[in-house]
């Protein structure tokens, strides 16, 4: 009963994004997540449905297509799951009152503040905002959609808002993680890490060492940007990571996707930095938005899960005959295992790798892990 794509409202926007993802015109996990949320908002606003199941089927179908367009861009699927989760939540709270909303109380991120979950007794008086919903109304099939759409739009807007403020929220506690006179090592050019370091730069004087991260050399950009905002910055070749590690206080990495086991995909070279940090017992901090949490496990197929980039930046055609005879490997991501990470700093608080699975359970619905 999966609907054909052309019957889906707003299918043109979907097709456009699919093409863009495929051609890698949309790259970077936040960019992809934002685009996905925008497309989903369009789809939901145009969708015709008379019960929640129909709507969910439509969103899923769109999500499946988007995720298939670029399977390594995990944030696309994550955004779809997040939207589905929010849609269900709104639906549940609209139909069953605040029963669903009280689930949040058990959130692991609030556990420290609120202590053990207690029975809720004072939630009876909260039913004033209920919308009268009638599913599968034969007389007026659109009544359900009409009644529910405003709250659904709000739910999707929440996802968008979260994506837009993600850098600020991740970096709001930066000064608690970076202290004066510390030496921080980072690799690549993660926007989240950049915002984090700059935010800490307002409060602290510290030094950043950026590894240049061959072959994309994103480290150059990062170093330029950091030093432009007044942070003392050093750029070093990747080969000196180990030598410098003995003087580094903290390693801060960006992530492409955070997996359910607490491991992550990050720009290639991250594994070297994280392993070197472990060898020197230097803490490894990962800065990432919540939208990078991915309900995937990557325990066995490390190599196959990597994305391979253009080899010409490693060994170009200017090498002549060599190009024909030599295999060149240029993976874009490294898989960094959970044992190498000390903490994830997200826009939803700081978490150890061991509780990531729990965060994922709270963020997404179990039914959506396979889109």
């Amino acid at each position: 009963m999966t609907p054909e794509l052309h019957t889906i409202p707003g299918h043109r926007a979907v097709e456009t994004l699919v093409a863009k993802l495929r051609r890698r015109q949309v790259v970077g996990s936040r960019e992809a997540a934002l685009e996905t949320a925008l497309v989903l908002r369009q789809v939901v606003s145009k969708a015709r449905f008379s019960n929640i199941q129909q709507l969910i089927t439509v969103i899923r179908e769109v999500g499946r297509r988007l995720a298939e367009a670029q399977p390594k861009e995990h944030s696309v699927g994550n955004t779809v799951r997040r939207v589905l989760h929010n849609v269900r939540e709104e639906y549940n709270s609209a139909t069953k009152g605040s029963a669903a909303a009280s689930r949040n109380v058990y959130s692991i991120s609030k556990f420290v503040l609120q202590g053990q979950p207690r029975k809720h007794t004072a939630n009876a008086a909260k039913s004033d905002a209920r919308i009268t919903l009638k599913e599968n109304d034969a007389d007026d099939p659109d009544s359900f959609a009409r009644a529910l759409k405003p709250v659904l739009m709000e739910a999707i807007q929440d996802v968008l808002d979260e994506l837009e403020t993600v850098y600020d929220n991740v970096s709001k506690n930066a000064k608690d993680h970076i202290h004066s006179d510390e030496i921080i090592l980072t690799i690549g050019h993660s926007k989240t890490v950049e915002a984090f370091l700059k935010s800490a730069g307002h409060y602290r004087n510290y030094t950043v060492i950026v590894a240049e991260t061959a072959p994309s050399y994103q480290g150059h950009e990062m170093a330029r940007s950091l030093s432009a905002s007044g942070i003392s910055t050093f750029l070093v070749p990747d080969s000196s990571i180990f030598a410098i590690m003995s003087r580094v206080n903290k390693v801060i990495l960006g992530a492409h996707a955070i997996l359910a086991n607490g491991g992550l995909f990050a720009i290639s070279g991250s594994l070297l930095a994280a392993t070197a940090a472990r060898a020197h017992s230097t803490p490894v901090v990962v800065c990432a938005g919540q939208f990078k949490l991915t309900p995937l496990w990557n325990l066995y197929h490390e190599h196959g899960a990597l994305d391979f980039a253009d080899p010409s930046s490693v060994l170009g055609f200017e090498e002549g005959k060599l190009v024909e005879r030599v295999d060149v490997v240029n993976p874009y991501y490294d898989y960094v295992g959970p044992e190498l990470v000390d903490v994830f700093i997200t826009n939803d608080g700081d978490h150890p790798p061991s509780s990531v699975y729990r965060l994922i359970k709270e963020t997404y619905d179990d039914d959506d892990h396979e889109l």
Binding site: D181, I183, I187, H202, N205, Y206, T207, E212, T213, A214, P215, Y217, H220, A223, R224, S227, A228, S229, G230, S232, T233, F234, L235, V236, P237, D238, S239, S240, I241, F242, A243, I244, S246, R247, I267, S268, G269, L271, L272, T275, A276, A279, E302, H303, L306, S313, V314, L315, G316, E319, L322, R325, V326, D327, V328, V329, N330, P331, D334, Y335
Partner: protein, 408 residues
């Protein structure tokens, strides 16, 4: 052995007069953060200039050529956002790169004087000094040494073996050209003639352990020369001893390593090596020549990218090669059966001193339980102890880090 260059990338400051002068009129509180910073910077510059004028003693890099630098250098480490934005697009990349090489030196002098905010960051690198241009030959430097020093300092000759052989060959020429002055004996005087030559080489690039060991042996040979020997005979004898040293300690040692190490390669093995070691190259070629079927993964890293040469040689010989840069190492390590690396020196505590990045390769190999084989001749053994790669090390060329950048 030579770590890659460590650059600080403080972008060059805008023109000194580009700073708005309004900052000083406002009260400290009314100023924006950038303005306050600028003011601070100015004060610091003034202080540094004063200190420089007074010739403040005890500065770590108080060489004459640094004295002029602080004025310009003061604004360099922390340019305000505004002045930086103006300055950057107008400056061509080349000048930026040269600026950078000097920035460290200049700002270090400033910061130690002014207790600058980033003195800490710079101080951890301060013991390295900075690669300096080859100084004009002081005193009586033999042309062979002058040329060799230039080749060392520009990294035209690299690698412990190559540098040792080149040095010894140059010494042979010197010894042949040497004439004992009247009233001196060769065994006493030759060394005093050689010492300034050696210091000239060391000024160009810190002496390698191999050169140190070879020179020590040479000194011993010189002092042991018979007084009664005619001068030419004595010189010939010394040259023969040098030849013997090169042959026995380096060339034959390499052949022995080739035999032993190539036996460690089995059919179907995947060998990983880092950068380019002359011994490892010979080992791999020998194993291939003896009919073993294996493939090689060459891991490489900027700034020297020596692995490209190795890949060219190996693939020319018909060995199946894979080439990748250091950050991609994690993706292939699980397939590797043995890692072969060369060494610059081996220390008494067992530490291996080798091309920057070797530690990362060895670390990853250990994590994947892959054996690591170091190919090292015994003349590379050093009596010192090395605990980490930070305390005693040298810096590579810093300019190449930017100038080689493909996309910049």
């Amino acid at each position: 052995m030579a770590p890659g260059p460590m650059l600080d990338v403080h972008p060059p400051a805008g023109p000194p007069n580009g700073e708005p002068s309004t900052g000083q009129q406002k009260s400290q509180k009314a100023m924006t953060k950038a303005e306050r910073r600028e003011l601070q910077e100015k004060q610091r510059a003034a202080k540094a200039a004063k200190a420089a004028a007074n010739g403040a003693p005890g500065k770590p890099s108080g060489k004459p050529k640094d004295q002029g630098a602080p004025q310009g250098g003061a604004a360099k480490p922390k340019p305000s956002r505004a002045s930086d934005a103006q300055a950057r697009p107008t400056l061509p990349a080349a000048t930026r790169a040269t600026e950078k090489a000097k920035a460290g030196q200049a700002s270090m002098a400033v910061d130690t004087a002014a207790k600058g905010t980033q003195a800490r960051g710079l101080l951890i690198f301060s013991h390295f000094g900075l690669p300096k241009p080859v100084s004009a030959a002081k005193g009586d430097i033999h042309p062979a040494i002058a040329r060799l020093a230039l080749q060392f300092s520009t990294f035209k000759i690299t690698g412990a073996n190559a540098r040792c052989i080149a040095t010894l060959t140059a010494f042979k020429t010197i010894i042949q050209d040497y004439v004992t002055p009247p009233n001196h004996t060769l065994s006493r005087h030759l060394m005093t003639y050689l010492s300034p030559q050696i210091s000239h080489l060391v000024a160009a690039r810190p002496m390698s352990v191999t050169m140190g060991n070879a020179i020590r042996q040479l000194k011993l040979d010189i002092s042991g020369t018979d007084f009664d020997l005619p001068e030419q005979d004595a010189k010939d004898a010394l040259c023969r001893k040098i030849d013997t040293y090169i042959r026995e300690r380096i060339i034959i040692a390499d052949q022995v390593i080739q035999e032993t190490a190539s036996n460690k390669i089995k059919d179907g093995d995947v060998i990983l090596t880092y950068a380019r070691s002359s011994v490892v190259e010979k080992v791999l070629l020998e194993a291939h020549a003896s009919g073993r079927n294996f493939s090689v993964i060459v891991v490489d890293s900027r700034p020297m990218l020596e692995g490209k040469r190795l890949v060219a040689v190996l693939s020319e010989a018909g060995i199946q090669c894979t080439y990748l840069l250091l950050p991609a190492l994690g993706a292939v390590m699980s397939e590797v059966s043995t890692v072969f690396v060369g060494a610059h020196s081996i220390h008494t505590n067992g530490a291996v001193y080798s091309r920057a990045g070797t530690a990362l390769v060895a670390m990853m190999a250990k994590r994947h339980s892959v054996p690591v084989v170091v190919c090292c001749e015994t003349y590379k053994f050093s009596e010192s102890i090395q605990l980490d790669s930070f305390t005693k090390n040298e810096l590579g060329q810093s300019l190449s880090a930017y100038s080689l950048l493909p996309s910049d």
